[in-house]
């Protein structure tokens, strides 16, 4: 206990930016706190009651003063807001061409998977200096994927994918926490993120990785579950091709358009009726709810992603949050 740091490690490209904003807020807070404490202290001493019968004169309210001390704090908070919003947008907008990693929360462990197929439990090995995008979900309750040294956190929510990204900048071992209370062993749902030199990472991965990549495993599932029987190359209009759909806008039967991100692919498999592709309203796709595990789903999604040529991805890699935008536009027209 005698080794107690008072400030967290800063090991990602975001950490410095978050810390700078933090210190700005600390400075503003200190200024106002000192102002108020000193003011109260000074008044308390200076205007202490000495004469029991003394009644202080009344004061006139001053509109200008009221406006001044409302507007100045307001403008200061607007600066905080804008600065915070910029960082927020950056943290939750994965850059193009990021390395893909996957995580599934489960009471009470983190299962992570590399695209090359290697799986880890409560650990995540990543190369330093690379943008890494996490696509995450959970098999049961809500958890939250939190790496304090990277200053990033995102809840993992059952029934959908959430994403976040980071770029480690310092080799080392860092805490991975579950930040959302998830039951009995919530505080045991912790692990480590190992940031390695790229060469070490490659060597480590080559050493541990055996078997197929996520996409290969996904392809195998794709065949085994019978997806392939409908979604064939020459589907003759029976169902839409899955080629080159990832991260592109898909026209829906109701006139809206959605970006085919991971969440959309997932929903198309589990709840095909939720969003029907334009022109296929008469073709039923059966639901696969309950037939595929979360891990399996991620593999299928990884496989479908490989059906899209990389340059095509880059062209439309819109932020996940922007995805609903085109959809609502179409919806409002009606």
């Amino acid at each position: 206990m005698w080794n107690f740091p008072l400030f967290p490690d800063a090991a990602s490209s975001m950490a410095g930016q978050v810390d700078a904003l933090y210190f700005f807020l600390v400075a503003v807070s200190l200024f106002f706190t000192v102002l108020i404490f000193a003011g109260c202290g000074y008044f308390a001493i200076k205007f202490k009651r000495v004469d029991e019968n003394f009644i202080p004169a009344g004061q006139k309210d001053n509109m200008v003063l009221e406006v001044v001390w409302s507007v100045i704090p307001f403008f200061i908070t607007l600066v905080m807001f804008a600065w915070g919003a910029v960082i927020f947008f950056r943290v939750y907008t994965p850059p193009e061409g990021a390395m893909e990693m996957y995580a599934v929360g489960k009471q009470w462990m983190w299962k992570t998977q590399h695209p090359e197929g290697h799986r880890e439990i409560n650990e995540l090995h990543v190369p330093v200096g690379r943008d890494i995008k996490m696509t995450m979900t959970t098999e049961d309750v809500i958890h939250s994927f939190f790496i304090p040294a990277f200053r990033v956190k995102k809840d993992v929510v059952p029934g959908k994918y959430t994403t976040m990204w980071f770029k480690p900048t310092k080799v080392g071992k860092y805490h991975l926490f579950c930040a959302e209370y998830c039951g009995n062993q919530h505080s045991g749902m912790i692990g480590s993120v190992h940031v390695m030199e790229p060469a070490d990472y490659e060597a480590w991965l080559a050493g541990v990785n055996r078997g197929e990549t996520m996409a290969q495993a996904g392809e195998r599932l794709f065949t085994r579950l019978g997806c392939a029987s409908c979604h064939q190359e020459d589907n003759k209009g029976r169902c839409p091709t899955l080629k080159d759909i990832y991260s592109k806008p898909v026209p829906l039967q109701n006139g809206q358009r959605v970006i085919a991100d991971e969440s959309y692919l997932r929903e198309s498999i589990l709840k095909p009726q939720a969003k029907i592709v334009a022109g296929y309203q008469n073709q039923e796709m059966p639901t696969f709810q309950g037939q595929v595990s979360e891990d399996g789903l991620l593999q299928i999604v990884a496989y479908i992603k490989t059906l899209t040529k990389p340059d095509a991805v880059a062209a439309v890699a819109a932020p996940a949050a922007a995805a609903p935008k085109p959809a609502t536009k179409g919806g409002n027209k009606k």
């Binding site: 904003l21 202080p56 409302s70 912790i190």
Partner: protein
């Protein structure tokens, strides 16, 4: 500049020596039934005071277990399950059964009619009903504890609470549900009383600021509480009967529950803090002998807070996967709701300027309040800042922040108010020196307990952790030591208040020489409050008549 430069107005020497009326509301009738079936708002105050004090003790006991466990990094004092149940029971007892009713149901119940110049609340029987709702809720809460407790936290997040949690979740939900109804009924009563039963001459802008605060609080109670009540029922239906509202396996949406829950529970923070803000204005005026500076701004800022508080709930969901743009809207609105609070603090300070400040226990509490409220307020700005909240959400920073507001500030003001009106409620004086000592102890203990948690939070220690990495231990020990001091500070008032009931000097009608209708009637007041309906023909707090306009 010296105090002598200020024009002075001399009041005549104090009138009659303190006396205690022979007949008052406490001894008007006797027997247990006369208390349990009373419709006198002052007696219901006493019923509530006793009930919530018991829950404060229960909540405090669980807090103690939590702090004891966290002295060491390993989870060694109790199992994870016991720990999780302890912090959940702590939260449920403190939020639903102490903080939400604290000031409205006790000081509010006592003072709203008196400050209006009325003989009782508009619906005395509904007032009694509200206490019984509270008791039904309390019985469920106690039953929960005896059935082994719940481990969902006071937030009951789905699908954990609805599908996965063990423990008496349904019982706990019913407890919170009934407590919620007691709060709705109290709010309803206050709104009608303030609208309809003000004494002749008591216009809206002649009302004491405490009434404004209670009015704003009541609006939140009657508009917000039904939403959380229904949300909890939906959780109960999903858990008990398998209706799919929130669990995606049943076709529901778990985030929807968070939206519904915080739609009430953020405003509920203001149910907990608006009444303390109102009490603060009363304390500042009385112990500065001064009209509250910027009266209109302070009054309307309460209403502004109540209104804006309904549109900021999404700041609890910044990391939940809610759209980035929604996050931005909620962030900017959250900053906005901070402004009226800042206005109040500045106005209290302006009130102190060139005032005649007396250092009695209630005022010491008031100073403590300003300190804690300032720290709680500025740390709220950190959490409203989107880029920072990503890191700080669900860490000890949040725990520290909301304890500074909901516990530090709210309890300081509650205690300040209790010390200020104790002579009115009981007719007895307590030992003022002990009062000042307890205020200082609680202030020091509180900061020692919760300030380290800000640092822990930024370092990344998540909340609700039974065991934690060793590097967090030092600050956790500081926190637990502070909690010990805090406990002493809380026990002290229990002792000297009880002592004052038996041995205290008679207070007389106005021991603090304060202004306000409540100080014009005997202490303790008679059952009917006023023998003659009072007529109000001056501004509130007219210590120096005619000032301010």
């Amino acid at each position: 500049m010296s105090a002598t430069a200020i024009p002075r107005v001399h009041t005549p020497p104090p009138p009659d020596p303190p006396v205690r009326p022979a007949k008052h509301y406490i001894n008007a009738t006797s027997g247990l039934a006369s208390w349990l079936l009373t419709v006198d708002h002052k007696r219901i105050t006493i019923l509530y005071l006793i009930s919530i004090t018991i829950f404060f003790a229960i909540g405090g006991f669980f807090a103690m277990l939590v702090r004891l466990e966290l002295i060491t990094p390993q989870g060694d004092l109790m199992t994870a399950e016991t720990y999780n149940r302890s912090f959940s029971m702590h939260g449920i007892a403190m939020v639903f059964f102490f903080l939400i009713p604290s000031i409205p149901a006790t000081l509010g119940n006592f003072l709203v009619p008196i400050m209006c110049g009325a003989r009782d609340l508009a619906f005395p029987k509904i007032n009694l009903l509200s206490w019984y709702c509270f008791i039904v809720g309390a019985v469920f809460a106690l039953a929960t504890a005896f059935m082994g407790g719940v481990d969902t936290g006071w937030t009951f997040y789905t699908p954990y609470s609805s599908t996965y949690a063990n423990g008496a979740v349904l019982t706990a939900i019913l407890g919170a549900f009934f407590a919620g109804f007691s709060s709705i009924l109290t709010g309803l009563n206050f709104i009608v009383t303030i609208h309809k039963m003000r004494a002749p001459g008591l216009t809206w802008f002649r009302m004491p600021l405490f009434l404004w605060a209670m009015y704003a609080t009541s609006i939140i109670q009657i508009l917000g509480t039904p939403v959380v009540a229904i949300t909890l029922i939906l959780v109960g239906l999903e858990r008990g009967l398998g209706f799919g509202f929130f669990d995606p396996k049943l076709g529901g949406d778990p985030i929807l529950m968070q939206h519904l829950f915080w739609f009430y529970s953020h405003p509920a923070v203001y149910v907990m803090i608006l009444p303390p803000l109102g009490v603060m204005s009363e304390l500042t005026a009385a112990f500065c002998r001064r009209r509250v500076y910027g009266y209109h701004f302070v009054a309307l800022s309460s209403v502004a807070i109540a209104v804006i508080s309904f549109i900021v709930w999404g700041h609890h969901l910044f990391t939940s996967g809610q759209s980035v743009y929604a996050g931005m809207v909620f962030s900017v609105l959250t900053f906005l709701v901070g402004i009226p609070s800042a206005i109040k603090v500045f106005n209290w300070m302006a009130t102190m300027f060139k005032a005649s400040i007396s250092f009695e226990a209630p005022m010491i509490y008031a100073f403590g309040f300003i300190g804690l409220f300032t720290i709680g307020g500025v740390t709220g700005l950190f959490l409203a800042t989107l880029g920072l909240d990503i890191h700080m959400h669900d860490t000890y920073f949040v725990v520290a922040h909301f304890h500074y507001i909901m516990v530090g500030s709210a309890i300081f003001s509650y205690m300040g108010g209790l010390h200020y009106w104790w002579p009115k409620i009981t007719g007895k004086l307590y030992n003022d020196t002990l009062g000042c000592i307890s205020a200082v102890l609680i202030f020091l203990g509180f900061n020692a307990t919760f300030f380290p948690q800000f640092i822990l939070g930024y370092m990344g220690m998540p909340r609700r952790y039974h065991a934690y990495p060793a590097e967090f231990q030092f600050l956790n020990i500081c926190s637990s030591l502070g909690a010990t001091l805090l406990a002493v500070g809380y026990v002290l008032p229990a002792i000297y208040f009880t002592w004052s009931l038996f041995k205290g000097k008679d207070a007389g009608p106005n021991p603090f020489k304060a202004k306000g209708l409540e100080w014009e009637i005997p202490s303790p007041p008679p059952t009917e409050n006023f023998t003659k309906v009072p007529v109000v023909n001056s501004e509130p707090y007219d210590y120096a008549p005619g000032a301010g306009h």
